[in-house]
């Protein structure tokens, strides 16, 4: 697929999402704003899992680092949204850098368990400091504290636009990154790390970079989620929120730029529809995970790439 057609396809998605806000009914309008923020989280996850081939079970730690970095600054630091957002993103960068230094000493299954354990420790830490974080119950960020540069982010239109801007930013970063030499090296590491090392690349530095970028984007999504929807709670740090991006990326197609969004969209509506029928809606997530690993390890966009659009990034 030629470079210009790739660009048209990806920019087309962003333009379409921008235009949709004028036609969607209120309920789906709100959903789509939520989906775009969560898809930004999935885009971050995809950089580490899809492109670098490192399966993390601890990304909720980064998502929560962003969310709490932002929310605690507003709640206890009295900060306005802009520096609070920045604090959230920085918190994510620091946490992912530290975890990377430890976890990247391991590979494969050990990497998965190490990330899982540290994320669990982070979740428990949030519960432990319940005086500050209000633990499981979480806390609401008041409407007056959510005005960014004069724009009230609790208004549906402003919220949709902010979500769209965030998603567009990380989407374009991801598209740009994977076509740069840095991104190509990440893909090479995924395919054969030994060979990349033999060719003289510093694979540790590349993996470290990938994990920090991935963690920082996830933290940005977490911070934005807290700010846009006005709530920070410990459940966003739980294992479930580490599993979700994995699920979205697997469903959409790991190692594709479009995949995270497609996967998040499908899974969101699948769970939305099924939670109308049963309270055990996570059952759907479980079934989809098993079916995906069995029958479509490439995901939706991955299958498309294999069959129709060869060369899709």
């Amino acid at each position: 697929m030629s470079a210009s057609r790739v660009l048209v396809l990806h920019l087309g998605l962003l333009a379409g999402l921008f235009a949709l806000q004028f036609v969607l009914p209120a309920y789906h309008h709100g959903n789509l704003a939520r989906i775009m923020v969560l898809a930004a989280y999935a885009v971050g996850y995809n950089i580490l899992f899809g492109y670098t081939g490192l399966l993390s079970l601890g990304h909720a730690l980064f998502f929560a680092a962003g969310m709490y970095g932002m929310a605690l600054m507003i709640q206890h630091g009295g900060a306005s949204p802009a520096p609070a957002l920045l604090a959230g993103v920085l918190a994510g960068a620091v946490v992912s850098g530290l975890l990377a230094l430890l976890a990247l000493r391991t590979t494969g299954v050990a990497f998965m368990i190490v990330t899982l354990m540290f994320a669990q420790a982070g979740y428990l830490t949030i519960l432990y400091f319940a005086d500050w974080t209000r633990g499981d119950e979480g806390f609401v960020i008041q409407q007056a504290q959510r005005v960014l540069w004069g724009i009230d982010l609790s208004q549906p239109t402003a919220r949709y636009f902010a979500a769209w801007a965030l998603f567009s930013l990380v989407f374009l970063i991801s598209l740009w990154l994977v076509r740069r030499p840095f991104g190509r090296t990440l893909i090479a590491i995924r395919e054969n790390e030994e060979r990349v090392r033999m060719l003289g690349y510093d694979t540790f530095a590349h993996k470290l970079g990938a994990m920090v970028i991935s963690g920082t984007i996830s933290a940005g999504a977490g911070a934005a989620y807290g700010l846009l929807f006005g709530y920070a709670g410990a459940s966003f740090a739980s294992v479930q929120y580490s599993i979700f991006p994995l699920l979205w990326v697997l469903l959409g197609g790991a190692g594709t730029v479009l995949g995270p969004f497609v996967g998040t969209l499908f899974m969101f509506y699948l769970i939305d529809l099924s939670s109308g029928i049963t309270s055990a809606y996570m059952l759907i997530a479980g079934v989809v995970l098993v079916l995906l690993t069995l029958f479509a390890p490439q995901g939706l966009v991955g299958e498309l790439r294999k069959r129709i659009f060869r060369g899709l990034p």
Binding site: V109, V114, M117, L127, L246, L250, A280, M282, G286, V290
Partner: protein
């Protein structure tokens, strides 16, 4: 109570935890050792054991012991058969690829957990113990008349708790005997040592894998049946045993059965004593950090010698 009797009590409670934990963790360790599969759904097999025990005990009328002993046989068998079916329909088709099997067992975790929520419901329900005599324990004291014993208030255990410890020890001995003395164990160890070579020698590796996965899940279910008269059966009860088993298996050295049992005893006993001094959340934070750091800096486990 003085500190002495208090610690004895904590040790007794810890010994019950350790016994149940050892059974659960040996199941996880067996599966990892032979199949190189990290079974995230192990805690849910534990939960299923407890839930099935409740159904069996409630379905049978008569003396509570009848229901309990029936559950002790039925629950592990059912869970074992279910696990074998999972192995043959899912894990086998993934070729036991380590990363894909983890994703699949995460999916399985949600299927089992939410399936239990839909059928069994969100309540916690107890199973009656078959026997439950309170046993007061004496404590030595130096008095004016020399050494004497008295019974401090609150220092007691039940016959059932002692029976749990004994039963777990018996089953572990049985597992050890199976691994070292029987043909099945020999075949399992051969598969663990070298899968390709075992295949070349005509060992039906696929059947061995199904067997191991079934036994591993069955051990977790058995542990759950033993504990369910003390705790209650609940659809979310699988999370803690899973985490603790992970800790035990990793500290004991991945795939090493004796290491697993030693680690289970240490963790189980210290769990009871630590929670006297620390808040349970802080204890869990320290434990999860310990597991992470052990994996990073000593992947062979604290007691293991060979590489995992």
């Amino acid at each position: 109570m003085d500190l002495g009797p208090y610690i004895l009590l904590a040790t007794l409670e810890g010994a019950v935890t350790a016994a149940v934990l050892a059974l659960t963790a040996v199941g996880l360790s067996l599966v990892f050792g032979v199949m190189r599969v990290v079974n995230i759904a192990h805690g849910e097999f534990f939960m299923l054991g407890a839930v099935i025990a409740w159904y069996v005990a409630n379905g049978l009328s008569g003396h509570p012991a009848t229901g309990f002993f029936a559950a002790l046989i039925i629950a592990p068998l059912l869970v074992g058969v279910l696990a074998m079916a999972v192995d043959m329909t899912i894990l086998k088709r993934l070729n036991y690829d380590p990363e894909r099997t983890i994703v699949a067992t995460i999916g399985l975790l949600y299927i089992l957990q939410q399936g239990a929520l839909m059928t069994y419901g969100p309540e916690a329900r107890p199973v009656e113990a078959p026997f439950n005599t309170r046993i007061a324990l004496p404590w030595p004291e130096w008095g004016e008349t020399g050494l004497s014993f008295y019974y401090p208030w609150g220092l007691s255990t039940t016959s059932y708790k002692l029976a749990v410890i004994a039963a777990a020890a018996l089953v572990l001995l049985g597992v050890w005997g199976m691994m070292t003395r029987t043909k099945l164990g020999l075949v399992m160890r051969a598969t663990q040592a070298d899968r390709e070579m075992a295949l070349a020698f005509g060992i039906p590796v696929e059947r061995v894998y199904a067997m191991v996965f079934g036994i591993g899940a069955g051990l977790a279910a058995l542990a759950a049946v033993l504990i369910v008269p003390i705790q209650q059966a609940h659809y979310l009860m699988g999370a803690d045993p899973l985490l603790l088993s992970f800790i035990v298996v990793i500290i004991g050295g991945l795939g090493s059965l004796p290491g697993t049992v030693v680690a289970a005893i240490i963790i189980g006993l210290s769990d009871g004593i630590i929670s006297v001094f620390f808040s349970p959340t802080l204890a869990k934070i320290l434990a999860t950090l310990l597991v992470g750091l052990v994996l990073v800096f000593r992947p062979q486990g604290l007691f293991g010698t060979r590489a995992a």
